[in-house]
């Protein structure tokens, strides 16, 4: 029975963790789906947002809502910078070049953040300041539930935007076939920029939620967000938005259980092993579109 309780607890924790992974993956997938490129500066842009929010909190004691806005706004600004410098110039060329350029900006943005706030760790106001709820033998963290709810709302909103607006038609057309989209009269360049902004906004929100749930920001946030976003995206099938959601949740669940039973290192090892094996076997759901 203790085992069952453990499994249930891990599942709960895993879902909350997975929700933030899902948000990261959604942003990553939006960019990848539309531009066919991986944005390695995604995490660092989010980190810059989180650091800006931390700085605002330290100097102005602002409330959570303001911090969320700051985080999202700065992440979007950083995202626009990355888009202009790394992706706009390489539209027709090799994906590798754009990705390495985004890596260069990863280094740049990360260093900017750590120069502004040089300590190894900064406190961040908590998302929820109470004790976890007790549900029988299970401990339910309220901030975890909050993140799940917010993620669900974002997913719903994204779904409506993509399937019930004119902009959504443009985005899905560009994802299907950028050339045909241009021929249909869609401004592909503007669509790229807007999708990038949207993805950065979602990433910024994810960063804020993660920082507030952890009650801290560290310099590792940048690399960590990028890796988790990419992992979750690939687990769910490259370029598929529902896949990103499922991939994120699955990754969260896997990590929660593996961490409990096997420890942090094997937890990470298993996640990478799963990805490697999936890529090697290439089950049908992973081949949504070409990635070169």
């Amino acid at each position: 029975m203790a085992l069952l309780a453990d499994l249930a607890q891990n599942t709960l924790d895993g879902l909350a963790l997975g929700a933030s992974y899902a948000l990261l993956a959604l942003g990553f997938t939006l960019i990848f789906g539309v531009l066919r490129r991986a944005n390695l500066a995604y995490g660092p842009a989010i980190m810059l947002g989180a650091y800006a929010a931390a700085w605002t909190s330290m100097n102005f004691g602002a409330g959570l809502l303001i911090l969320a806005v700051v985080c999202i706004a700065v992440a979007m600004l950083a995202g626009a910078y990355v888009e202009r410098l790394c992706f706009a110039p390489h539209r027709g060329g090799a994906a590798a070049t754009a990705m390495v350029a985004s890596f260069a900006l990863w280094m740049q943005l990360e260093e900017l953040a750590t120069l502004a706030l040089p300590r190894h760790l900064y406190a961040f106001p908590a998302l929820y300041e109470g004790a976890p709820l007790q549900l029988g033998p299970l401990l339910v963290r309220v901030d975890g539930v909050l993140i799940l709810v917010i993620t669900a709302i974002i997913c719903f909103l994204l779904w409506r935007v993509l399937y019930a607006t004119r902009f959504g038609i443009a985005v899905r057309a560009v994802i299907d076939d950028p050339r045909a989209a241009g021929l249909a009269g869609i401004n592909v360049r503007t669509t790229f920029m807007l999708v990038f902004a949207l993805a950065s906004a979602i990433g910024g929100l994810a960063g804020f939620l993660i920082a507030a749930a952890d009650e801290q920001v560290t310099p590792m946030l940048g690399m960590w967000s990028t890796l988790k976003g990419m992992l979750a995206m690939m687990l769910g099938g490259l370029g598929s938005l529902p896949g990103a959601l499922l991939g994120g949740l699955a990754l969260g669940l896997l990590e929660a259980h593996a961490h409990w039973f096997l420890g942090p290192q094997l937890r990470d090892f298993l996640a990478y092993l799963l990805l490697f094996v999936l890529l090697a076997l290439r089950p049908p759901w992973m081949n949504t579109r070409s990635a070169s």
């Binding site: 443009a170 899905r172 057309a173 299907d176 241009g182 021929l183 009269g185 869609i186």
Partner: protein
Amino acid sequence: MQGAMLTVRELVTAYGKIEALKGVSLDVAAGSITCLLGPNGAGKTTLMMTIAGVLKPRRGSIRLMDREIAGEQPDSIVRHGIALVPENRLVFPSMSVLENLQAGAYQRKDPIEKDLHNVFARFPRLKERASQQAGTLSGGEQQMLAVGRALMSRPRLLLMDEPSLGLAPLVVEEIFRTIAELHRDGTTIFLVEQNAHMALKVAQHFFLMEQGRVSFSGNPGSLAEDEVIRRAYLGSAR
């Protein structure tokens, strides 16, 4: 030339060092069906793509009525009133038939219900499949969808690149019936076709393209049909 909807002069388009269009000049008369014939590799698709803005020309001019449009972005070209039905259809496979049509009307600011109604009236099979994913349609249905999508932008000039490619003879007849109907309803059509026989039955004027240049221009009947067909498929004897 008076009454020309589209005027192309000395158009040069290159891929790196290779010039696919070596100085193309032609006119498409307003209200006509004009046909572009020629062997594979002559540059017909390159010409269509250049007019549509997907490719940028090195040199030369493209005028739509009085307006110079060479080198503009594809969405701009649609705004000016040109729509291309591309080779291989290029429908949006993950989107429904209806959404494909809505995409075609992207530039439109006014209500599009009437145009949707008209497209469905013209292509009843599309109406049946309105909520079906475009990727699951047959070749002929996708071709109709591609034409319908192009019509949604209310183009003054409709470009069509190989609409009969890969389709069964009965479907091809249907396509050409549609082309004739569109012409009757006032749309100017500039058509690339491998199927010279069918094309010459509907066209008022045709051009022959070989190796990046226009090699012949005339009306159906100005050359014996088998001569035209021979040159369309094989190129002229050197």
